[in-house]
Symmetry: C2
Subunit: 461 residues, 2 copies
């Protein structure tokens, strides 16, 4: 498969795309995919293929792949399962670079016979296949986008450096949507479904060498080759952190996974052991996957000493509770740090960690408190709780927090809990690249995972 993995570039950076099964019927997959290419930002050649039409969405439509004159880098297939082997043979003859197979109805529906043919044709011709039974790929750098969900319902995220590899299309699409919503940039999106030809290990290998990717998110249900998977995880995770969520952990979930992508989910204990051995970061839910990845763009912490700043006592306490539950280390302020802090507090303020600036403190107090903690050797990570609703707080807090994140001296995580007003501010912070959380739990868990991974990497060196 090594050769095929390299050839994935033809799929991720195509100059020409054929959409086989394109249709003018609104809301059909073959229509949504074509529309996303036509109305999206893709600027290569687009070839709709369907013998029933001469033109779709104003584009010339071809009866079959072989009738297209130009070279085809990537063919997106959305025709019924039975038609697939013949179309693949045609693609091979035409020397198509690679295939994204959206079609479902193979292993997951008992049609392992067709799946076997797909594998055969792909291997014989060294032609990479993503899928089948998947959403396919999205690459904001090349603008290829085979996700069959309308753009007005599912936003596409901006270019960045997080790769998403997902077995499930549903999970993948929600992550894409959330990434767009929070302004998180992605490098590659791969929804690989049944993994009939290439599997999770192959995609891990691909993004390990992808220059746009710095962090990897992985959602798996069942893995084909456990040994291969463990080895590649170990190798990749040393270079780029992997955050993984395993679907199908119990009996009911495993049964569901079988009928979902036709893969056997297997014993969760074995997976859990493999994750631990490879030191990859395991998430305990969909949002957590997302919460964790946000902090990985921050500079690595040099230790586990946490400093907390807050203007809401109770929120500082809840955050502290989680810091202790997660076995992080609440930093003990040095004498000089204490002195500096005392200078900025009102007479009735208490010098402590969490540092409670109290509700009537404004942006300037935050600025000073952050500066003191940035300079304090005993503090390695800053958790900054900001209750944005207090009277003296104003929009300059955005600048102060963004600057703290941008100067890259120490990692920070910010927490702001609230409704519409607070969420609007939080989104600006997210778009500015500041890890911003709406709950103390989420923030502290992310910090813990980041601290643990950073310790592991430090030891390797």
């Amino acid at each position: 498969m090594k050769m095929m993995v390299k050839r994935l570039d033809r799929i991720f950076y195509p100059k020409s795309v054929a959409i086989v099964g394109a249709t003018p019927t609104t809301n059909k997959i073959g229509n949504v995919v074509l529309k996303n290419f036509v109305e999206g930002m893709f600027d290569g050649e687009i070839y709709p293929v369907n013998p029933k039409y001469d033109e779709i969405l104003g584009r010339r439509c071809y009866p079959q792949i072989s009738k297209i004159a130009g070279k085809i880098d990537c063919a997106v297939l959305a025709t019924p399962a039975d038609t697939i082997p013949e179309i693949m043979n045609e693609c091979a003859k035409k020397k198509v670079g690679g295939i994204v197979m959206i079609t479902s109805g193979f292993e997951e529906s008992g049609r392992t016979d067709i799946a076997e043919k797909i594998r055969e044709i792909a291997v014989k011709n060294n032609m990479p296949v993503v899928g089948p039974n998947c959403l396919g790929v999205f690459n904001p750098y090349s603008k290829i986008d085979s996700i069959f969900l309308p753009m007005y319902k599912l936003e596409r995220p901006r270019a960045g450096n997080i790769a998403f590899i997902t077995q499930s299309g549903a999970v993948g699409s929600t992550i894409i949507d959330l990434a767009a919503y929070y302004g998180v940039g992605i490098s590659k999106f791969i929804s690989y479904g049944n993994a009939t030809v290439l599997d999770e290990s192959d995609y891990l290998e691909y993004v390990m060498n992808d220059k746009e990717t710095k962090v990897i998110i992985l959602y798996i249900e069942g893995v084909k080759d456990g040994r291969k998977f463990l080895e590649i995880m170990k190798k990749v995770n040393k270079k780029k952190p992997i955050i993984v969520l395993k679907g199908g952990q119990g009996r009911g979930g495993q049964a569901a996974a079988k009928s979902h992508t036709g893969n056997i989910a297997g014993s969760y204990m074995a997976y859990n052991a493999a994750f631990k051995q490879a030191k990859v970061i395991e998430a305990d839910g969909l949002y957590e996957l997302f919460d964790i990845v946000k902090i990985f763009n921050q500079p690595k912490p040099k230790g586990d000493g946490i400093g907390i700043i807050t203007n809401g006592g109770g929120l500082g306490i809840i955050t502290t509770d989680f810091v202790e539950k997660e076995n992080l280390h609440l930093a003990e302020f040095s004498e000089s740090t204490k002195k500096e802090i005392a200078k900025i507090l009102p007479p009735y303020g208490n010098v402590g960690n969490p540092l409670d600036l109290v509700a009537d403190s404004g942006v300037d107090s935050y600025k000073k408190a952050i500066e003191i903690m940035m300079n304090a050797d005993e503090i390695n990570v800053l958790i900054i709780v900001v209750l944005l609703q207090t009277p003296p707080m104003d929009e300059r807090i955005i600048h102060v927090l963004t600057k703290a994140s941008d100067d890259r001296r120490k990692p920070i995580a910010t927490i702001s809990v609230g409704g519409a007003y607070t969420e609007a501010y939080r989104k600006i912070l997210e778009r500015n690249g500041v890890p911003s959380y709406s709950s103390p739990t989420a923030a502290v868990k992310a910090v813990e995972r980041f601290v643990t991974y950073s310790k592991y990497i430090k030891k390797l060196k």
Copy 2:
């Protein structure tokens, strides 16, 4: 304190309010509180009190309480700590119904001497005091609102039947804000700070007898009288479910709690044991508090059999994983249920729980699937995962889910994960009273707490 608790009605349903410490200076507490009364919906008498001014915000300002001719139901105090005892004596003389004391700087700053005086004056005159060091009260039924956070920054929720009792103002305000954001209605909001006169137990007693309250959320840091607290929790929880979050669980959190409201947080193990004994529902974080309460407006489940419907395989699997982790029971479909389901699935569909309607199913499939599960005896709770981003999904899903919630046959919880488009839909669902969650984890945890509480209540009968 029994007598005082009864008198709290004067604070929660006042016909006249004095704001002592009112000021024209923008962003000062005494200004924000007065402004919220003047610009809010409160239609009783409003008396600003401050010897420095003749008029504030177009209202006649009084030099002191005693100079006000009319009766005063509630006095909101926002003057410095040292001035408080004298003002209280004046209030007592004037026969003020009750006091909301926002002022801080007492137990939490070592001034137990003034706190002692406050208690003395209150008890002697049988005059209830909420606070000090708090946000005070909000009652959407009477429109009293002493929360010193501007309305444009912190929305106020609509009238409903959830009472919030919170020791911390910061935690309380974020909950208020989230409740407004998600359209959750509240009955009473009580931020009680140092609990110098009345404490958490007294407020529990008050809302137990409050006809607007059906569910209670409680955030505590330290409790004064553990025995009294345990007894009242037991008593109240049998009539109205209590969902509790304990702040200050570890050493660092306890130290912070001490300097926050001057209360000793005490051993978390003792609290945890008390919660278990009283069968109250313990939340493990701020959002969870909120997630759990949403489902308590649904009809109580008759058992623990869970049915899951989804149009995204992976999301169904993740939801199933959590159902199993939370030790809920994934219902085994009866033969007749299986038959009914087979009729509505496409030929390649799989009859199973989770029931995967697959991505190309639309609103009608949901309608039918919900109807089948509503009629199936083996299913007690419906968890409905809807990936709103799929092409065939449209706005009629709102109607179908709202109807399923409104007909009150069985409790439902819905899950939709996504960005802006999905969140807009979710908000409509919330406003329609449908428990809607953005993560499987949150939904399943809420269902588990609701099932467990319902079993407890059923046994009592």
